[in-house]
Amino acid sequence: MAATLSVENLNTTFFTKAGEVKAVDGVSFEVDKGKILGLVGESGSGKTVTGFSILGLVDPPGRIVNGRILFGGEDLVQLSEESMRHIRGKRISTVFQDPMMTLNPVLRIDTQMIEALLAHEKMTGDAARQRARDALGQVGIPSPDERLKAYPHQFSGGMRQRVAIAIALLHRPELIIADEPTTALDVTIQAQILFEVQALCRESNTAMIWITHDLSVVAGLADDICVMYAGRLVETGTVDGVLDNPLHPYTRGLIGSVPSRNTRGRPLNQIPGMTPSMLSLPKGCAFRTRCAVADGACEEQPEITAPIDGRGVRCFHPHMDNPQ
């Protein structure tokens, strides 16, 4: 069975005044129907740009310089803006981080929902309103009829994010790209959203890419993980595989950095140094300068290898002494 989405060797570069920034550098992954892929990385790792690249929404000075994005048998990179527009919102939809910013503050919710429907389907205004109302109900918004007439600022943060999710679900998309959708929310509200997203994906068999910096959220939600560092994928695999047996030193460091009940009273296993500037990455492996096991070999760029079945790691010295 072909994957819903298959990204092959994607390169997105920003041509800034200060120099070229390879925000996404040779990224490849697949998402299957009904599966949730967690795309994990710290700020500046290129995870958001990856999402925008799939949607064809990379703004100048950035552009996709290389690679293929296969979706439903078509290469999205090659599609015209007009054909891309028919995919966006209909077959691939998105949820962004800050629900305060993603809904237009001066347009009513019904306007914003109905326009999304009419952009892709011919239907009467009444039918569209009906669909919008049902979608609000589906994501657990009480009294959707009244809420349709409200403006975004009349909703709480959690409710706004629900509206955004309702809009994303309007056309029953094949793929949802969710970019840190719960980061701005409180724990109890985050749990509600995660619960609903999970249920909706399972019901409708939608594939999803969940972009986040938070390993814990991915642990609870996703099936597979891709870890990004400085624009490159450094490790891929199933959630259990990667979190229980991380191969890349960066992934190991990242997991060790998360405070939890096991680390109580002990120093965290921190990664030294800072995230390098994307304008002056170290030659070869970008993680080299912060890595404990780096040696001369790392001055060359490592390729992704699969030392274990179903796993991928971009490292000359993957951590192998704990194979399960």
Binding site: E42, S43, S156, G158, M159, D186, V187, T188, I189, Q190, A191, Q192, L194, F195, Q198, H213, D214, L215, S216, V217, A219, G220, L221, A222, D223, V239, D240, L243, G253, L254, I255, G256, S257, V258, P259, S260, R261, N262, T263, R264, G265, P267, L268, N269, Q270, I271, P272, M274, T275
Partner: protein
């Protein structure tokens, strides 16, 4: 965990109200029969707890629960509307001005936003060195050596003294903020979401720095955070807040092993954990109510799975339910 012998800071019935008072027009309208009332936000409602010498107390709650307001009152940036704050047994608010200044210097705050918390027009040496010189902790001649010492302590390269804040990354900026606080030789650090804005790997560095400083300098911490992982990692005791009120106080061990209050339980249930895979999220229902218009009785009752009639009318008081454990829930009365 033994009950700390000497409390460093004691909060007694602290209340903070923010009032948006009526303007002339609304008063005039009220005169002719209008019914406009002042908008009152009870940010902190009758909160009491202590922080022992050398202890790390975690203050946990969701947005709008008043945890930052408490931090700012303890740090002396805000004044409580009612109640008393004692520092080593001295009532901070009734001290004479000069004395109060020197006492409140002993409590320093680490802020959330590493960008907004450093003055962009000052060099690192002034950011860190201004206060110690102003308060005559060091003379300006000795300042350089002193700065080297403080900066080394915080993992900052002393050679960077002449730089401006914009030349540093988020993690380094946070270290500068910590150095600024430590430079006035405080006993007590209030960390208000001090790692929330940082990347995970940098966050770990700063958390380790906090632990090392505690060992090195015998500091006491009030750790304000929404992140239960961080709180569990560092705290000795934990205080849970909901909508301006205390909900539960317990040692970290007790609390995370056996939470008492339904809200605490819900929080612990729902915090995502790295060792918790593909779980079924079972969230608590409802929204966080607005502090302008809180529910009656127990503030948590509209969302509580165990709420009874009593919870709707009567606000539960914080009661001792075990050694060093307090909880504000009517359920504890029923069970024993």
């Amino acid at each position: 965990m033994t009950e700390p012998n000497a409390p460093l800071v004691r909060l007694q019935n602290i209340t903070k109200r923010f009032v948006k008072s009526l303007d002339l027009t609304t008063k005039l309208i009220n005169l002719v029969g209008g019914n406009y009332r002042e908008e009152v936000v009870q940010a902190v409602d009758d909160v009491s707890f202590t922080i022992g010498e050398g202890e790390v107390v975690g203050l946990v709650g969701e947005s709008g629960c008043g945890k930052s307001t408490i931090g700012r009152m303890v740090a002396g940036i805000l004044e409580p509307t009612a109640g008393a704050i004692q520092y080593r047994g001295e009532d901070l608010l009734s001290l004479p001005k000069a004395k109060r200044r020197s006492v409140s210097l002993k409590s320093q705050m680490i802020f959330q936003d590493p960008f907004a918390s450093l003055n962009p027009r000052m060099r690192v040496r002034d950011i860190i060195g201004e206060a110690p010189v102003a308060h005559k902790i060091v003379s300006s001649d000795e300042l350089d050596d002193y700065l080297d010492e403080v900066m080394n302590l915080c993992g900052l390269e002393p050679g960077f003294k002449r730089r401006y804040a914009h030349q540093f990354s988020g993690g380094q900026r946070q270290r500068i903020g910590i150095a600024r606080a430590l430079a006035v030789k405080p006993d007590f650090l209030i960390c208000d979401e001090a790692v929330a804005a940082l990347d995970v790997s940098i966050q770990a560095q700063i958390l380790n720095l906090f632990m090392d400083l505690r060992k090195e300098l015998g500091l006491t911490y009030l750790l304000i955070s929404h992140d239960l992982g961080v709180v569990e990692h560092l705290s000795d005791r934990v205080v849970i807040m909901y909508l301006g009120r205390l909900v539960e106080v317990a040692t970290a061990e007790d609390l995370f092993r056996d939470p008492n209050h339904p809200y605490t339980k819900a929080l612990l249930e729902e915090v995502p954990r790295i060792d918790n895979r593909r779980r079924n999220f079972a969230p608590v229902k409802g929204e966080i109510p607005s502090p302008i218009d809180p529910p009656s009785g127990c503030y948590f009752h509209p969302r509580c799975p165990h709420a009874t009639e009593r919870c709707k009318t009567e606000a539960p008081v914080l009661k001792e339910i075990g050694p060093g454990r307090l909880s504000a829930c009517h359920l504890n009365d029923a069970t024993g």
